[in-house]
Amino acid sequence: MGIDQKLNQIVEDLGLFEDDLEKYEYIIDLGKQLKKLDICHERDENLVQGCSSKVWLICEQNKGKLFFHANSNAQIVKGLVYILIKLFSNLTPREILNINLDILQNLGLSEIITPNRQSGVIGMIKRIKEYAQALNKVGKSCNHNN
């Protein structure tokens, strides 16, 4: 599935809820589906900057595509992390670098998450792009934090 299709799917799913609280319940449920991150990755060097809650993000490369894994100490953030990982995983570094940071607007998250958490989401997208940038240059595994 391409990035546009993934984005449309997420926007469509979030649009099913008229009530913000229900939307949050859905996001929290998504967070519960997040694949468990090995505790050894919950280190300071894997922390995403700009998040008021803690978010640890790592990246793996497989057959030229990037796959992200993450965890957070906050449940709502876990849900947001799940959405971002779904969106950015299984893409090549070049495809990730071509995605505009305005994606937050397209997701419609800016209406429901606090400014603090918006900067956290932006921080996470930046970190994902940094991984993509590094791998686009060297073309090798980014599993260096493991």
């Binding site: 609280l21 319940e25 008021s52 809650s53 906050a74 449940q75 709502i76 998450i113 606090t114 603090n116």
Partner: protein, 395 residues
């Protein structure tokens, strides 16, 4: 029953429980500020026409009102500022920096009473000492006395009421001990006037920092009380218009206090509005405010005690206004967001008091902060919403 005096509550159906951050403004305050801007807007202490004279008179009447409200001796002891942060920075820069070897604060302080001392190059045990708290976040007077004994020539800067936990500090005892060891005391009263009477003469403080916006007045206004005997040792913090007696290209001579410390055009409407807020409080009476708040505080605590896995950080003794807690295993910010989505407005975070959060080994708390206009209905709605938030987050 008091919400009828505040237009905010006619326009908002949400439950406002963030009064330690800022309070709502009664109609009288907004009316008087509007009167200034729409009927006699002019600068103070300068021009000599009728509107300017009226603005100056009402501005100075506000000073007199505040002087009497806190039982200061003279108007010269009341200097208007932007708020408590500016008040502390002013005294730090104009009085403390050159005159004191050590500044003593407590573990309970918020950033406004920590960072100004760091800016002077003071660090823990290098010009800055911190009084410990006990397991219920009570100020340790024995440790304080030990610090005073160890550090001659100290300046003590202490909160009257903790914004994060609602603890009232024993200011009279602190001042008594400080003066015994020749230390000078500033009290950070950011939270106090919204909850209880402050009498600077009775407390015998040297400096008392006051916030308008946390006392039902407008933002951008506050004051610092300076005991008369210290006035001649204070240097002007900022200089410019309205502070000077005579200026030539060779030198400037200054007016007396308070004018020499109020440089530039002041927040005229803010000061006039602030005195209206104080009049409003006086009409209700602190006795009534205390009665309402104490009952609400205990009710809130009792209701919260019924919630599974709740973690408190202090007891309710000598506490008013703010109550902080966490729910075991849940993130305070998650709870705050889900409360917001149910129209319950509380603050979740470190409350600009990171050092005490670090001491407690937490990132932050959920803080409910009450004012006299809150009622049991607000607390009941909050408890229902809190339970729903917990249900959502706990599977």
């Amino acid at each position: 029953m008091y919400k009828q005096y505040f237009e905010y509550f006619s326009n908002n159906k949400s439950v406002y429980l963030d009064n330690a951050a800022t309070t709502q403004k009664p109609k009288e305050v907004l009316h008087e500020m509007n009167e200034y801007y729409t009927k006699y807007c002019a600068n103070t202490h300068r021009s000599n026409y009728s509107n300017a004279n009226k603005a100056t008179t009402l501005y100075e009447n506000s000073r007199t009102y505040l002087k009497e409200f806190i039982n200061a001796k003279t108007e010269s002891e009341i200097i208007f500022t932007k708020g408590v942060t500016e008040s502390i920075n002013f005294i730090a820069s104009s009085f403390v920096q050159e005159n004191f070897d050590t500044v003593i604060i407590s573990e309970l302080e918020h950033h406004s009473n920590i960072v100004p001392w760091h800016m002077q190059g003071r660090k823990l045990h290098k010009g800055l000492e911190v009084v410990k708290l006990d397991e219920n976040l009570n100020f340790d007077l024995k440790h304080f006395e030990k610090l005073l004994k160890q550090h001659a020539n100290s300046f003590v800067s202490i909160s009257h009421l903790s914004n994060a936990f609602g603890k009232i500090l024993p200011i009279k005892d602190i001042v008594k001990l400080s003066h015994k060891y020749k230390a000078v005391v500033l009290v950070d009263g950011a939270q106090s006037l919204a909850h209880f009477k402050v009498d600077v003469k009775d407390l015998n403080v040297d400096f008392y920092a006051i916030s308008s916006h946390k006392t039902f007045g407008p933002t951008g206004t506050g004051a610092i009380y300076v005991k008369q005997k210290h006035l001649n040792k204070l240097k002007p913090y900022q200089t410019g218009g309205a502070t000077i007696n005579d200026v030539s290209f060779s030198k400037s001579t200054f007016l007396d206090s308070p004018f020499m410390y109020e440089a530039g055009t002041q927040n005229i409407a803010g000061v006039i509005g602030f005195s209206e807020a104080l009049k409003f409080l006086e009409n209700i009476g602190y006795e009534q405010i205390h009665k309402v708040e104490k009952e609400l505080y205990l009710y809130l605590k009792k209701e919260l005690e019924g919630i599974e896995d709740i973690i408190f950080y202090s007891d309710s003794k000598k506490s008013i206004g703010s109550l902080s807690f966490n729910i075991k295993g849940l993130n305070h910010e998650d709870i705050g967001i889900l409360l917001d989505k149910q129209n319950i407005l509380v603050r979740c975070g470190h409350h600009c008091a990171q050092p005490i959060m670090k001491k407690l080994k937490i990132q932050g708390t959920i803080r409910v902060s009450l004012a006299f206009y809150n009622d049991k209905y607000d607390i009941n709605k909050f408890i229902v919403a809190l339970k729903r938030a917990i249900d959502i987050l706990k599977d």
